[in-house]
Structures are given as C-alpha cells and as structure tokens.
Amino acid sequence: MSKELQRTLINSISIIAFLYLFLVGINGMSSAIKHFGSGFADTVLSTTDNPFLALFIGTFATVLFQSSSTTTSLIVGMVSAGVLSIEGSIPMIMGANIGTTVTNTIVSMGHISRGNEFKRAFAASTVHDFFNMLSVLIMFPLELKFHFIQKSAIGLGEFLFGNISSNEVMKSPIKTAVKWGSKQIEILSFDNNIFYLILSVLLTLFMLYMIVKVLRKMVLSKVEVFFDKYIFKTAIRALLFGMLLTFMVQSSSITTSLIVPLAGAGVLSLRQIFPYTLGANIGTTATALLAALSLNVTALVTAFAHLIFNIFGILIIYPIPFIRNIPIKLAETLAEYSIKNRLIPFAYLLIVFIVIPFTIIYFGGK
C-alpha cells in the first residue's frame, strides 16, 4: 500500500471517528440540558425571548468561537433539548452569520503594513461582513413580522417528516450508536449534570476543531487548482465552488480566509470573490444539519432555517445589481478609508464585533 493511500485511509478513519464523537458531544449536550429540568429551560427561553438580544448573542458567541458551525451546532442542540424555541433560534442563527465573518477580517489585518495590498485584502474580507449584515438588516425585521424563514423551515420539515416535534426522532443505527456514546459520557461524569454538560460541550468543540483540521489537510492540496483562473470566471461557478469547498472543510472561516491573501496579491478581484463567499454561507450550514440528524426533527428544522436564511439572503441581494453592489461599495469605501487611517480597521473590528454585541447583551440582559 502506498504512503499516500495509507495517509488517506488514516485521515478518512480519523474523520469518521471525530464525526462520531462530535455527534456524541452534541447529543450529550442536548441530553444534559434536558436533565436540568423545566426551570432551567424557562430561564434560557425567557432570556432568548428578546430577538435583538438573541441576534447579538449569536454574533458574540460566534466571535468567541470563531466558527458559526460551532454556534449553530450548539443552537440545534439547545433546540433539541427544548431550552430554545425554533422561533428564538432564528435571530441567533442570523447573528452567527455576522459573527463568523470576523475571522477573515482578522486575517486581512496581517496585510495592514502594505498599502494597496491591505486595501484589496481588507475589502475582500469585509465584503462578506457587509453582505451578511445587509441580509440580516433586510430579513430580521421581515422575520419578526412575517416569520417567513420559520414557516419555510417548518414547511420543509413537515414535507419531509410530517410532524414537527422534539419527540419526533430520526431512527437509525448511527443514532443508536451516538446515544450509546453520550451515555458513556454521562457515566464518565459520575451522573453530575454540570460535568456532563461541560464534557459534552468540550467534546463537541474539540471534535469540530479536529474535523476541520483533518479535512483542511485532506482537501486543500487537492483543490488548489480550482483557485486558478477557471472557477472564478463566472459568478455561479465561484458560488458553487465556495459552497462545495466549505461543505468539504466544514468551515466558512477557513474558505473565506484562504482567499484573503489571494485578493491582497491581486490574484482574485473583489467581484470574483464575492459570490464565492456567498457560497461559503450556504456550505457552512452543513455542520448544523449533520448535528441535527443525530437529534430530533425540531433540531433539524432549526438547521433548515439556517440554510433557508442563507439561500434567501442570496436570492434577495445578489440578482439585483443595485442591491448586489451595496456590500461591494461599502467594503471598497471602508478599505479606502482604512489605508488613510490605520486605526479605522481596528476600530471597525472592535466596535462591530465586540463593543456593540457586548453592550446590547450586557444592557439588554438586565
């Protein structure tokens, strides 16, 4: 057996093991929360009852985790446990979409000492920020008024499963194996619910980190040729590529950060990158869908809501040139100001991703 084949085999087995443990972690978290009882559920439900607060909790949590997949996986776990409603989870998911863009913006700061290179890199990263903010700006009030994302996600759930309930579970041998795994964690935590929850969350976070790490190593060297010329010639190809690559590495932070140095060097233009980042928005929804598959139908409907929100965002913003150009123009303008005053990008990062969410959570929670 060749070394290359051996490596691929080891990596593939590792991925399966990590994926299993990730599902065990999510399942354990959901199960531990359920053990806390209705009092705990009521407290969390009342906290997240305020959609504005939920929106910024989603943003701030994702900024801390540097991964929307982690936040959305935890959200579906909480919905599955019944401490978060589908309705309450949607603003959080929207917030996670905003928070996830922080990583590539931080990556672009590495170019700050180099004038035009920084301008291109910073614009390429913030175009994702502005798109996600714009889609929240459009869809958040519409969702509050009409609940169209929630209704679409429930509609899809009903179409596929008939009945939407946390008691409705997808039966499979994998699910049985996952349940067994989470039972072992419960035993390991000496039946202490707090330990059980902490262990499960840590397992989820660590396994997701390992999955992304191994997948990145396996996938990126194979797909680098796709970053050259051909794929980025049309928007639809770039979008599909962004979606597939993010699905393969399970992290939009990685796929959107990868193109920042290429944008900085002028290999790819802002307009070529834009549809690719939108594809990444769709691809990143796969992790929560995967996590939800080991939980219940309510969790899956929440994961659908994440997918639907991102698809609607693209459908509303991208086809109309005037609206499509808003994130591009905002990114270009911010980059222009940022090379004139290097404090601006730092202030932008701090205010948008830390100060605003933290202030709203701090004062809104009181």
Binding site: L220, S221, V223, E224, V225, F226, F227, D228, Y230, I231, R237, L258, I259, P261, L262, A265, V267
Partner: protein
C-alpha cells in the same frame, strides 16, 4: 464545463504546473537565442525563422502565470513548498530577462546594415558565443534534472570563460585598442558582448537555484 472541471481534478498541483511552465519558457528562450544569434551574425538582412516578438510576449504571459500559480499554491496549500515556490518566482525573472536580451540582439540585427563581424575580435567572439550557448543549454538541462554537479561546473565556467571574456571585448573597444572596426560595428559589438554576458549571467542565476539556498540565488557557491 464538466470536461474542464474533470481536467482540473486530474491536473498537477499549481506548483508543478508553474515548474512545467518554467521549463517551457526555457525551451522558448533557447529557440529565440539561437535564432537571434543567427540573425545578427549569419544573415545580412536580419533573417528570422520565428516570430520573436510573439514568443517574447508568450514568455511574459508565462511569467505572470507562474507568479500567480505560486502565489495561489502557497496561499492554499501552506508553507510546505515555500522555499521552492520563492525560488521559482525568482528564477522566472531570469528566464524572462534572457528572452528580453535575445529580442534585443534581434533588434540590433534589424538595425545593423549587414551581418555583424568581429574583425580582430572575431575569434574571441566566436569562443564566447560557443561558451554562452553551451552554458545556457547546459543550464536548462541541469535545471530540469536538478543536477547539482553539472550546475556547479557550469557556474564556474560562467565566471572564468564568459564574464571575463565579455568584459575584455567591451574594454578593448572602449579603450580604443581596436582599430579595424567601424563605429557602428564597434558599438554593436560592445552591445552584443554585453547581451551575451547578461544571458550567461541569467543562466548562472538559474542554475544557482539548483546549488544554493534561497538567500544565495544568483551568487557563487559558498566554499
């Protein structure tokens, strides 16, 4: 579209593609070099069997392509090929310059009324032409095969047999020691010697990448 995507899946890494393009550039350079030498030295009316300007543009396109591919490769696949990637980005400049000098030789042939003769310097000039051709051809082979002993030998040949000999021709013209050449012949010969020296120097830079670490590209081998 699917055919192109399939081709992408089965293609080499961007680094390998860039290396392949460098090899192709070198082959084009050699064709241009031989054709331009013939045009200046053998033909009275600057005969040229190839479209040297078109080939020069092709080389320029390749240069940009190599840079873009290496940049993308390093950005996506990490630092594994950092050293060799930087080497390729550096030597592609030398390869492109060789193309430029061969074009310069042809431009001189166009403007020179007849074929260029070396007069009392003819014997030296012929020897230099042969050495530059040998070193350039040898450098291409050594670079393609990453042949360290061959590269070391060629680097020594450049200093001893090309650089000093070219300077001798230029210096003897500038100092007025050559009396049998007309003004246009003297000017052309001095320029030609300079172009040959530069082609030799860029060939040396190319093979220094086979022998030296990145920081010593273009310099002689450290004892």
């Amino acid at each position: 579209m699917f055919k192109q995507i399939f081709q992408l899946f089965s293609s080499d890494s961007l680094y390998e593609q860039a290396l392949e393009e460098c090899h192709e550039m070198l082959d084009i350079d050699l064709t241009m070099f031989k054709a331009s030498m013939y045009s200046l030295r053998e033909s009275d009316n600057a005969e040229m069997s190839i479209n040297i300007f078109k080939l020069d543009k092709k080389i320029n396109r390749f240069e940009r392509d190599v840079r873009r591919k290496i940049m993308t490769h390093l950005a996506i696949s990490g630092s594994k090929d950092l050293g060799s990637g930087l080497v390729l980005v550096s030597v592609v400049i030398d390869i492109e310059r060789i193309g430029d000098y061969t074009k310069n030789i042809y431009e001189m042939a166009i403007n020179h009324p007849t074929k260029l003769v070396g007069g009392s310097l003819e014997k030296d000039l012929l020897a230099i032409e042969k050495k530059v051709t040998d070193v350039f051809e040898g450098s291409i082979i050594a670079f393609k095969n990453q042949d360290i002993p061959a590269a070391q030998k060629l680097m020594k040949t450049y200093k001893k047999k090309i650089s000093n000999s070219c300077d001798e021709i230029t210096h003897s013209i500038v100092s007025g020691k050559v009396a049998d050449l007309t003004t246009d012949q003297s000017a052309s010969l001095a320029l030609y010697a300079r172009f040959l020296k530069r082609i030799g120097a860029h060939s040396r830079n190319l093979i220094s990448s086979v022998v030296n670490p990145f920081e010593r590209l273009g310099y002689s081998e450290k004892e």
